[in-house]
Symmetry: none
Subunit: 414 residues, 2 copies
Amino acid sequence: MTVELISVGTELLLGNIVNTNAAYLAERCAALGLSCYYQSVVGDNEERLKDVVRRGLSRSDILILSGGLGPTKDDLTKEVTAEVFGRELHEDAHTKERIEEYFRRVHTDQVTPNNWKQALVPEGAKVIDNHNGTAPGLIIEGDGKTAILLPGPPNEIRPMFERDVAPYLNGLNPEGIYSKMVKICGIGESKAETMIADLMDAQSNPTIAPYAKTGEVHLRVTAKALGEEEADELMRPVIEELYHRFGDKIFTTEEEVTLEEAIVEFLDKRGMTVTTAESCTAGLLAGRLMNAAGASNVYREGYITYADEAKEKLLGVRHETLMRFGAVSAQTAEEMARGAAGAAGADAAVSVTGIAGPGGGTDEKPVGLVYIGCCVKGKVRVEEFHFTGNRAKNREYSVARALTLLREELLRAD
Amino acid sequence: MTVELISVGTELLLGNIVNTNAAYLAERCAALGLSCYYQSVVGDNEERLKDVVRRGLSRSDILILSGGLGPTKDDLTKEVTAEVFGRELHEDAHTKERIEEYFRRVHTDQVTPNNWKQALVPEGAKVIDNHNGTAPGLIIEGDGKTAILLPGPPNEIRPMFERDVAPYLNGLNPEGIYSKMVKICGIGESKAETMIADLMDAQSNPTIAPYAKTGEVHLRVTAKALGEEEADELMRPVIEELYHRFGDKIFTTEEEVTLEEAIVEFLDKRGMTVTTAESCTAGLLAGRLMNAAGASNVYREGYITYADEAKEKLLGVRHETLMRFGAVSAQTAEEMARGAAGAAGADAAVSVTGIAGPGGGTDEKPVGLVYIGCCVKGKVRVEEFHFTGNRAKNREYSVARALTLLREELLRAD
């Protein structure tokens, strides 16, 4: 079975956005055992879109179209694809109800007549509910070909693909594709790849593919098998070998578990609490930690202390320390972590102080210098980092490193 | 003049990498006044690549191919394009010398016979020197069509494009493309589009294209003109009309200015300070506000108060208020905002308290219910929101709405 990806949107043709949907869909299709030979990008133009859809159907079994399902006149993906398949559009009661419900919940004053365009469905098409927006997905089958239409926003397309499209595509293929994600923190990508170079060379079924994320390396282990049990049996020895090599640097083997969730679960199981004291990251660390549902069991309060006086007032950092070593120093990071744990009455605390840039750097303390402190049960460890990104990247890396340090210190104290 | 982008590489088809080259080339071509109607991705396969190149030449004036210029047998872009143009390959002495020199400088031990494949040039082609790698770029012209071949690595393609390809393309096209981004907050996408439907229908030069971002709508106004001055003259009346319709919902007309930067600049100019008191967003609001470089002038400290006791202790929310109305209530949001302003000694404060989900919802207070409070110079306004996303989206929308509310209240008090 071959699949072809068609991304619809003028903003892609103008280069205003990067086509991350194509990379996501391509990766997921490959994991599902489908061969993808072509990807196209085309704008919201009837003739050109029709041409690309026809061309796609002439050379591929399945088309996945993303984008162009919005409520405006510009949005043509559904209309054009239905025409190529020779299908009329009808209002779908279920979809209309879902859109009405969506608007009731969100902002009723903003519903305009053009929104009802999104309730039109080609005859015979399967509807894929959209839980994060108003445009439903659609599956149109005919003459041995299939077109799958999905909305453009990543937060809509991804859950729809995982929940409905992947099982549908899997059903077209008797051999299923099963995968586990071995997630590692505290080891760089090059080093991680070197550590498993022999496994990657020898791989056939299952395969191992590495992906770098900020401060993490993810290894996707993928097996082709006739069922989940067979897949698990194929993957087990590989995953055991990865544990043997990476040890407790592996924080999960579950696709959907994030580093912050692993940490929150660890704390929750032990009835421990954590707090944060942030300068340059200014809330991003706490914000990420609290992405984990259920974080309220382990986190009660946190501190954003940008100004020196705030570090003194809220965390009890000594004036002398700030004067002598400066706000961006190992000493300040240590007192911030210890002070935060005390102020919040928490078992653990993480502190971040650094120079995210673009301004504020000096020869002695350049942009990218960040100190991260971690206090667990009264013991403090401080690490110095030198990041080389822009302001946003330096802050993002600081957060990733802070979580990694917290996890290491929690494991050490356990 | 129309241009078409063809990206060659199996790693793109497998989704192992994101096609940032296409976004970069598309944006640069648009800025050079070239219309791009199609982008394609194809693998290192002779027949399929030939098909895509032929198809491209049949519908576009200029093809820009990236990738597939490497030294291995897999790399076919040059061979296939030369064949389509009916050109023989010859060894180019200048290029061979550059490759030899490159290997002398970098890693002499890694030169293999297949590297000399990169010194082969189609007859009549212009060579574009590569200062960061061994594969030269090539420009092949024939029958009124042009193919420009560039290597895949971003650190090679970008300098080559800027130094040699952009001036070449500019020579083909005297008219340039200029644009402004009108950014709006506090109005939904559908409503914004309805408000300018007549302008969009009537548009020719300049054009208006809307893009939705979380809590914002961006309108790109684009003019074709012979220079910046002419472009400004073309765009001025359109931008004036947009100001007439959207008023102070427009927070900037600069591409690179974000909502948080607009707010920080507003505060900074007036010597005002702001603070944040967050429950469900737990630092994300502060974190986003502090994305703005220079935010340290206007922000000294902030509070993450997840637990009820933290709201009492750090913000002075009354125990009675929490007992009677609950932590997720307009009353608590109001006291959080007022309390934060007082505790931080700030001129303005924003508070967020809500149920981000997935747990914690009740019939009376469902997941997605969020109260945002804003205190400016002692006056507090509270708004109630009902978001319908998952935990992450509800938090992201809360942050966007909180910034919008803060901006509105700052303008009102000004």
